[in-house]
Amino acid sequence: MRSHKAIAVVVAPLLGILSLAACTGSGTPDDVEVVSIDQDWSKAEPLTIDVFDVPANYQGIQSGWFGKIVKDKFNMELNIIAPNVAGGGDTLYNTRVAAGELGDLVIVGKGKQADELVEGGLLLDASPYYESMKNASEYDTAVQKLNEGKDGIYGFPTSASTLKPTEPGQNIDPTFGPFLRWDYYAEAGYPEIGTLEDLLPVLKEMQDAHPKADNGKPTYAISLFKDWDGNMMVMAKQPTTLYGYDEIGFVLAKADGSDYQSIIDSDSEYVRTLKFYNEANQMGLVDPESTTQNYDTMFAKYQSGQVLLSWWPWLGQSAYNTEQNMAEGKGFQIVPMEDQKIFTYGAEAYGGGLVYGIGSKAEDPARIAAFIDWLYTPEGVSVTSSDTMGAAGPEDLTWEDGPDGPVLTDFGRKAILEGDADVPADWGGGKYKDGGSALNVSAVLPAEVDPNTGHPYNYKSWPSYLETTANPLTEDWSEHMDGATTTMEYLEENDQLIVAPGSGFAAPTDPAEIEATRNQVKASIVEHSWKMAFAKDDAEFDALLAQMQETVNGLGYEQVLEVDMTNAKAQNDARVAVADELG
């Protein structure tokens, strides 16, 4: 199951918060007829609902243990429709909305996309049910903020949180960071890394020392993929986050609002990264399959140890840091890059970039409302977030609550830490990983505290986990990282973290002309970026850069940039505002 953070990386910058403009009243008009969702749905008629799920990476009927839980509780099956799997950009979305029915349960980007659906009458006003949605109303601030300016309740927040927006939304690992194969880094003698480009000689040394992985295939320091490319080449944006930047349109905005860069500028962090990849490629450090492989192929390479650098902990660590590998001292860990100031998403006080909605033609909207409400219960949160996101899964199967807080069961350790395990038949059977929630989004942030156990949902924060997982890898790492026990602890202590307050900002819809220009420009930027990364020498790199600048400027880049700059500044205003209000 692909990480939810993966989605945050891609979706969050694209969507933005609700436009801040409108603010007439909130939510529920008084004359709404209240419909209760409180009933025993397990006795209801069997039902299969279509779930249009933007972040999903699986298409088809939800099976396995999660499917069984939903079936037992709601006598309902989830037919997941995943645009990611279908491919072809917005084709699936467009054809479905043109037909007037997107799905019974809809999980889409907030802001532009959700607004359009409300306007087009494709989402149902859930106000009648909201009254009895006890669990969702725990996050009423976020619900109201999300539906601000609308004449009803159309959307429910994801990744809702009661943490302060100025606190990092993650408590163990940041979303981004320079993660290297620590064992090889140690072999190289823990070389100092001053800045991004210093990684190259280190990686070169590591790759030369280990040209082949355990499976006999060649090792490469860097492996790239293109599946998530949007406004720019996704893999080239990641290193810019090490210096506190995140994308909004074609702008790289620093978390504290101190700098805004146009990505195509020759001195932008984005071009710097392309240069970095290009140099790496000239040194033979880049996997030649990068241009054609997809995420899954790349992930498999991480699992077998064929890649040495990961910009995301939820890629390198979740693929390779199995209990067995770590016991042998092998695994990905963050390295101390002196000038890094890693961008971190603050807890989203108003919910993440995606929303749940009920389709206007849904067959049994009350049951779907009940299902959405259940997603906010401790049980719902535990079972819907995938293991790479840190929630532990169903209680009594993968974990149980003990006197010293929750503990992973033997089964849980096997399924989560050691790779996978066979689920007992009375839990639905099959492989544990295959049976996880295909929704790939969580209603509540896993860093939130589970009221039943008094500990966060994220098992990595449990005392029992921290105690039992000390291993040669983490011990060695800790020894060389000033005794820190977690990545976040190290970064916080060294002031290498920069938090962008979770304001829930979503950029407003582009005017038609801007949108058309943007789409052409981004295609050109992505195309040129890949060519630049694989240019055969510096001269070709510079020529391609100049060509890209000329082409996109000719297409009208300036006008789009102006819009993005305005949005970037509005985003910063929203961050400042939320920090003042709730921070």
Binding site: E119, K226, G284, A516, V526, L555
Partner: protein
């Protein structure tokens, strides 16, 4: 009599003229979720966008160049199936001829997606060819066959020939079977050898079929499809692989600008119309009667 034609007229109307109503989206900022009624009317804006900048025109120019180049390469090689059929016909061993014909016809029934998979497993950086060359010590870094901007038109031509050659020859094999055997007999009596038979009888007798097919393919000059180019496209070859149909798809569905894509596809109709009128004018001058 009119009533007998009526169903066909109706079909033509429904499938050829009714869809033209869709052109109206070119004047809106069409958003599927809002429907045409809810979308904003923008007049000629999209048309203006297309002609407003030099880069934009250059891009369309490149797309047209790709489209025409690949079509003309296709037409230029359209004699190959003729020769293939003629040579195949000369093979005496029936089992061998049948085997060759089956094997060369088969690729036509493989979808482009599968063709790409074959191409990928052979020519990707870790494909058979690269691995073999590497194992033999001929190369140290994998050669890029698929993700390169070099010779895109030619490689695309090669793939479509591989896929279509056997199939294209079927029509000619049928035509050869229909050639009057007495022509061959009298030529043999006159002392013609096999090559002369091919040169002076089979080839000229195939020309009428060839010309008909040629005219049909010229009519489809802008319709060189998109499947092949869609599956083979990537960031490295897009500049030279993007044909008109693929460009419309990329703009409309991948880029989500449906109205702009409508304008582009209108362009296609206009160019087709111009080609048709030109062909008609030439035919008029050459034959004295128009073809439409």
């Amino acid at each position: 009599m009119f009533f007998i034609v009526l169903p066909f007229l109706l079909l033509v109307f429904v499938f050829s003229y009714l869809p033209l109503l869709g052109w109206v989206t070119a004047f809106y900022d069409y958003k599927p979720a809002l429907g045409l009624g809810g979308s904003e009317f923008v007049g000629w804006m999209w048309f203006e966008i297309l002609v407003s900048s030099e880069t934009q025109l250059k891009q369309i120019g490149q797309v047209m160049a790709n489209t025409l180049a690949m079509s003309f390469l296709g037409i230029a090689t359209s004699l190959l199936p003729v020769f293939f059929a003629m040579l195949l016909n000369e093979v005496r061993a029936k089992w061998f001829r049948n085997a060759v014909q089956t094997l060369t016809t088969l690729p036509n029934f493989i979808s482009w997606v599968l063709v790409y998979m074959i191409a990928f497993s052979l020519f990707s950086t870790s494909g058979l060819v690269n691995t073999t060359l590497h194992d033999w010590g001929l190369i140290t870094v994998p050669m890029k066959f698929l993700d390169t901007d070099q010779h895109v038109w030619l490689t695309m031509l090669a793939w479509s020939l591989w896929k279509g050659l056997g199939w294209g020859a079927i029509m000619y094999l049928a035509a050869i079977a229909g050639i009057d055997q007495s022509l061959y007999e009298s030529a043999r009596i006159d002392g013609a050898n096999r090559f002369q038979l091919m040169r002076y009888i089979t080839f000229p007798m195939l020309m009428p079929t060839y010309v008909v097919l040629l005219v049909l393919s010229i009519a489809n000059i802008l319709n060189n499809g998109m499947e092949q180019y869609y599956v083979f496209q990537n960031a490295f070859n897009r500049e030279h692989i993007q044909v008109l149909d693929l460009y419309v798809y990329n703009v409309g569905l991948t880029g989500n600008s449906l109205s702009l894509a409508t304008v582009l596809s209108m362009l296609k109709s206009l160019v087709s119309l111009a080609l048709l009128l030109a062909a008609n004018a030439i035919a008029k001058r050459a034959r004295g009667s128009s073809i439409i």
